[in-house]
């Protein structure tokens, strides 16, 4: 098999690290389902099937400088941007020490100021204008950072997508909008959400660059986001990247997907699981030897075990913090 990563400027170490993060996202997610089924955590919303595009896209950013506004499935993005497994477990267990929200928000509602990761909410797509606003602010502040935002394809039907993209395009702002098209919005299949051929077809209507890539292909995602990043830095304005993959799990731990899609369809999608393909590629390239793989898996398991124990033991926020952080100062002014 041809070497695909070198010509993109990715070293063997880079791709191995990408794989490690992709696998971390997958394993963390799997653990969360177990914990949920065991009654340990009340809720999971999953990244499975989207980790490849999440990590590959993040690697195309300047992770020491850029801003991200991830959505609830973006375990891969937040790991790549610097969130730890322990922090992920803390938010799953809703413990006080969780840096995302101190256990105030549901799992999957990310945010981490030190990592320049904007705090997200549940109403979908509100983050698109926020990311555009960050880009506007970087320009006003002569900050070379780029602003990266993700959302689901269903969410691209919200008004905020339209208004946010249009604003970014008019002002040629350094924003990368990545739509993670997993073909479902809860139970609603793609054909009942949109009638366009590609979500990236929307780019033209804003006068911005648009492209659809295979979300299971880390190299194609990386290339597209890298090019978008270059355009952003060169004052060539925003880009809309659509990464197509498939949601391998039910919508969330509260969902039962058998009512709206067949098991065969899911099984077939699993054959395209980008994680498997990437693993095969790395094996063929002799970057991921059996030893290395075992080491990664072992360490990962340890890390997740430790994080789980830690988070499980960690205290909840105490009742008397309920009134904290409503305003900067208690009372008004």
């Amino acid at each position: 098999m041809m070497n695909k990563h070198e010509k993109l400027g990715l070293s063997d170490d880079d791709v191995l690290e990408m794989y490690r993060l992709i696998l971390t996202a997958r394993r963390v997610d799997e653990r969360m389902w177990l914990l949920n089924r065991a009654g340990k955590i009340p809720f999971v919303v999953s990244c499975q099937g989207q980790e490849v595009q999440q990590v590959a896209a993040s690697f195309a950013l300047n992770r020491d400088r850029d801003y991200s506004a991830p959505y609830y499935r973006d375990v891969g993005v937040v790991l790549a941007m610097g969130m730890t497994v322990k922090e992920l477990m803390l938010q799953a267990f809703a413990k006080a020490e969780d840096p995302n929200s101190g256990g105030r928000q549901m799992p999957g509602h990310f945010g981490h100021k030190r990592l320049r990761m904007l705090s997200g909410s549940s109403p979908v797509t509100t983050q698109v204008p926020h990311a555009v606003g960050v880009a506007l602010a970087t320009r006003l502040s002569n900050d070379p950072a780029v602003s990266f935002v993700t959302l689901g394809e269903g969410s691209s039907n919200q008004g905020d997508f339209h208004e946010g993209c249009n604003f970014a395009a008019v002002h040629k702002l350094p924003v990368i909008v990545m739509v993670e098209n997993n073909q479902y919005a809860i139970s609603v299949g793609l054909g009942d959400q949109v009638a366009c051929e590609k979500i990236s077809d929307r780019a033209k209507g804003y006068g911005m660059y648009g492209e659809t890539v295979d979300g299971n292909d880390p190299f194609d995602v990386y290339r597209a986001v890298k090019e978008a990043h270059d355009r952003a830095k060169n004052q060539e304005g925003p880009s809309l990247i659509e990464a197509v993959s498939y949601r391998l799990t039910p919508h969330s731990s509260d969902d039962d997907d058998s009512s709206y899609r067949s098991q065969e369809e899911v099984e077939k999608a699993k054959e395209n699981d980008g994680l498997i393909h990437f693993r095969n590629y790395l094996k063929e390239q002799n970057i991921l030897t059996d030893e290395v793989e075992e080491e990664i898996e072992t360490k990962l398991k340890e890390e997740i075990d430790e994080a789980t124990d830690y988070a499980d033991q960690a205290p909840y926020a105490s009742e008397d913090t309920l009134y904290d952080h409503v305003y900067q100062t208690k009372g008004v002014n």
């Binding site: 009340p42 928000q105 549901m106 909410s121 549940s122 008004g159 139970s187 959400q193 309920l322 409503v326």
Partner: protein, 328 residues
């Protein structure tokens, strides 16, 4: 006769109205094959087909706005908003359009839409799946806001809302969905919009509330009656906008002591208006300050169970407040 849950009652109301009237249809997110994320529209897709049970794209302003257009044409659409918290993108369509349609056209056009949405806390929903959102809309003449507290009213009020020739926001308590059940009468249930309901007759204190809090208040009142002999006059507002002033005034005058309860944040909630009505009309009948029990003034209910519990008004808090007022 079988016990019917609050959510089954809602399902029955929609089924019956869709059978009765071709103009009634449902649109919303996941209402079709999936039957709604709470399964309120369970079975409707199979029964009435995808033309009348429409899975809409994920866009609340369109769900509401398309419903408004259909209502202007003469349909009686039911728009489901998946969680009340997500009605906010549709506020412009609801307040600028639905609420003002009849008035602005001088009676030429009307807008008989029902917008249903599950609201309320106590179900580990965190900030954005727990909110009481009614007060955002409770200053908009032209709109009606209905919040049932039990299965029978859920059915009877929803049927009335669907038939109503004006726009109705219908908020269903998601914790009540499966918690509350009762037997429903054989005959058709139609509950009038705009009328409060006297749940308990009593002489010591008047408690006025709505939604799930009615259930807790009823339970608390029973305990207090048994334990301390306190007699509670319990009023369920049912329609929180516009308010049934007559019933409120009568109930307040009857006992002279009033406790108002909401699970919403306190400042700016529905019960502030209830208090103002009483303070305007019953001042000289009052024997105690008008007391309010409500959620704390923090943005919304946190996820962590410690904090959720601290936020949520519950039966114990209600009982304490009742006793305190009775002893005043």
């Amino acid at each position: 006769m079988a016990q019917v849950t609050y959510i089954e009652a809602i399902n029955q109301a929609m089924t019956e109205e869709m059978e009765r009237d071709q103009r009634v249809f449902v649109l919303g997110e996941d209402v079709g094959k999936r039957g709604g994320v709470f399964r309120a529209t369970d079975g409707l897709y199979d029964k009435f087909g995808k033309e009348r049970v429409i899975d809409a794209p994920l866009a609340e302003s369109a769900i509401t706005g398309v419903g408004i257009g259909a209502a202007m044409y003469g349909m009686h659409p039911i728009a489901e908003i998946q969680f009340a918290d997500f009605i906010l993108p549709a506020v412009n369509q609801i307040i600028s359009e639905a609420a003002k349609m009849r008035y602005r056209s001088n009676g030429d056009w009307s807008c008989p839409i029902t917008v249903r949405a599950p609201f309320g806390g106590g179900i580990h929903g965190a900030l954005y799946h727990s909110q009481s959102i009614e007060s955002v809309f409770a200053n908009q003449p032209g709109l009606k806001i209905v919040i049932p507290s039990n299965p029978k009213d859920a059915k009877g009020l929803l049927k009335s809302a669907i038939r109503d020739e004006d726009p109705v926001l219908f908020f269903e308590h998601k914790k009540a969905y499966r918690l509350l059940k009762e037997e429903l009468p054989e005959e058709e249930v139609l509950t009038p919009i705009g009328k409060a309901n006297q749940v308990l007759q009593g002489d010591d204190i008047t408690v006025i509330t709505y939604g799930l809090m009615v259930h807790y208040a009823k339970e608390a009142a029973k305990e207090l009656s048994e334990e301390k002999g306190v007699s509670v006059n319990l009023i369920d507002l049912r329609t929180v906008y516009p308010l049934d002033q007559e019933s409120i005034i009568e109930a307040a005058n009857h006992t002279g002591k009033v406790l108002l309860i909401t699970e919403d944040n306190k400042e700016g909630s529905i019960i502030g208006e209830v208090s103002a009505i009483i303070a305007e009309h019953c001042l000289f009948e009052l024997d105690a300050p008008i007391k309010r029990l409500a959620g704390p003034d923090v943005p919304s209910m946190p996820y962590a169970s410690t904090l959720e519990k601290a936020f949520m008004v519950n039966q114990d808090k209600i009982k304490d407040a009742m006793l305190e007022l009775a002893l005043f």
